[in-house]
Amino acid sequence: MEPDIFILLLAIPLVSGALLTVLGEREWAPNLNIIASGGTFLASVLLTADIVAHGPRFALGEQFFIDSMNVFFVTLTAFVGMTTSIFSGPYMKNEREHGRLSAPRLRLYKSMFQMFMFTMLVALTTNNMGILWVAMEAATLTTVLLVSLYRTPASLEAAWKYFILCGVGIAQALFGTILLYFAAERVLGETGNALLWTHLVDVKSQLEPHIMALSFIFLLVGYGTKVGLAPLHNWLPDAHAEGPTPVSAVLSGLLLNVALYAILRCKVLADGAVSPDFAGNLMMGFGLLTLLMAAFFLGRQKDIKRMFAYSSIEHMGLITFAFGMGGAVANYAGFLHMTMHSLTKSAIFFAVGHATQKTGTQLIADIRGLIHINPLIGWSLMLGTLAILGMPPFGVFASEFMILTHAMKHYPWTTPILLTALGVAFAQIFGKVQPMVFGETHAKPLPHAPAITPVFLHLALVLMIGLYIPPYLTRWFHEAARMLG
């Protein structure tokens, strides 16, 4: 056992966050941010290698547990975190030169970004359902500060709604956690281990079904608020649209995933205790409702980031639906889709960020001709959009293909709903993005060249997975899917 890597993984963001807070906004602060994120990513890769080589393991006693399921999320999180920090370098410089952000705000941004990464990594790696809750709440707090970074009325309003809705939601999750502890205690006794997931899984079939059902409802509603399941999603478009774009990218690409990850951990337990359909049906129902509603929301959007926020909701609905169906294929597809969505959506937000900076507006109607302003931005937005809409050969299609075919096989009645939603979403999003990318424009170039590498890095990965999923990734997904039962 080599705990140092794991410690490093958590320590880097924590320490660098603290450093960035203490030292303030300096010339090298963005680089420190990037280096820290890169270090985190490196640590996550090493950790992954370790897990792949030696199998799941504990850390810090039994408080942290890393298996193939969460190590994968850790890598993904660290990766997107790294690319986001790269992206935010020039982005934030431009913001500062536009006078939209001052140095203290930038300090806040960077430290909170690292803290956010820390909380997410804790949430992903912890073995304790209580700590999971604490980390989720902490993630909310850090992101609230990030969302309100601009201190404009709109961003404050968004942050307030975010705080209150997610706070209330997460309180429900706490109630669920209490009930879970209650159920576990009856089996495991009053040790501190009763909230440890590894212990809970071992005894999941003995947990009292009534309590577990109730607990799962609270957990689903609670964490589901953070996932953005309809009708609990209302905070999400506001927060995405009003925060700085890098924050939108990590919210969409990572936070939603982590919340869903929390639900998945709970689902495993609920499946074991209650009849296997209970949690699944609930998730399928929420998933379908979310998917459908989000698709119809898309049509009326005037703000580009808001629109992609709804797109995130839509995809979260689809993923939730996939996990709700359960089974090896659907779970696999769900994980794949989460990955693809994270990568693609954050890439889109990067592109959107540059686009909005170039044009000085987030209004769809005012953004035109990106491909003339900067062909790379234009193409990346176009390709990203097509990818997120499920056009092959991008990876999103692979997962959607699997989800759809699985649904067709096991729940044929859901296919019309799924297809309606996907079709409507396609029409709406594409109809809005196309004139933004193409068309005429008069915008001028920006002082700092955009960091476009992250976008294409993401899209290249998505493209690769659409055509070829490397065997180790498959193995990961399979392991993870098996863990979900």
Partner: protein
């Protein structure tokens, strides 16, 4: 009937008081009074935890009781008081719509909560098991309170009252969560309130009031 031990009776009493306070908060228009009621609720919560701790000899429950007292009965009310003073909203009065209806809805919620909790609390072996329903009811009432409030501070108080309900649930169903979790929760709550405090000032700067009805501009329709 008389088999219920004294401690349990005390706990039930505390729980009932908490529920009563929840109703009182639901109907309370003045912000200062609301904070006071919240502090009182925290105190009763602390008492009930203490009773459980004494009865069951669970050591960590002493710690949680202390934590509750410190945080919910003293620190948070103090912060809130300070905020109210600094924000000059001491005499803010909310125009609650239709208090009787709200109360009625509250009663229905209590019934629902009891019904939901009933089968579960029977499974519990804790002496405080009967209060699980009350805890759920408190959570829901706090929820209702957040829905009905139009000012920022009372909404936050509602949010904190919900935490109280959760804490009651934790002690009543399971004699409290593991210590590390409780500490984490407490820390989160504290940080949350501090952040919110900062927020209040920003909101007031931007909107000239803490009325959250001003914050309805981000919408789609």
């Amino acid at each position: 009937m008389s088999t219920i031990p004294l401690s349990a009776q005390l706990i039930n009493l505390c729980a009932s008081v908490i529920l009563l306070l929840a109703f009182a908060m639901l109907a309370q228009r003045r912000v200062m009074q609301l904070i006071n009621l919240f502090a009182l609720q925290g105190l009763v919560l602390c008492l009930s935890t203490l009773v459980v701790a004494v009865t069951t000899k669970q050591h960590h429950l002493y710690w949680s009781a202390g934590l509750t007292l410190l945080l919910k009965a003293l620190l948070l009310p103090w912060i809130l008081h300070r905020l109210v003073r600094k924000l000059y909203v001491k005499w803010d009065i909310e125009s609650l719509v239709n208090v009787p209806t709200t109360m009625l809805v509250g009663v229905v919620l209590v019934m629902i909560a009891f019904n939901v909790a009933q089968p579960i609390s029977l499974l519990s072996q804790t002496i405080s098991r009967g209060t699980l329903g009350i805890a759920l009811a408190v959570v829901m009432l706090a929820f209702l309170m957040m829905i009905t409030r139009t000012k920022a501070i009372p909404q936050v108080v509602g949010f904190l009252a919900m935490e109280n309900g959760l804490f009651l649930a934790a002690t009543s169903a399971t004699y409290g969560m593991p210590m590390v979790v409780e500490l984490g929760i407490a820390l989160d709550v504290l940080v949350g309130v501090i952040i919110l405090g900062v927020f209040f000032f920003q909101i007031r700067d931007q909107f000239d009031s803490l009325d959250i009805r001003n914050m309805e501009r981000l919408k789609d329709n």
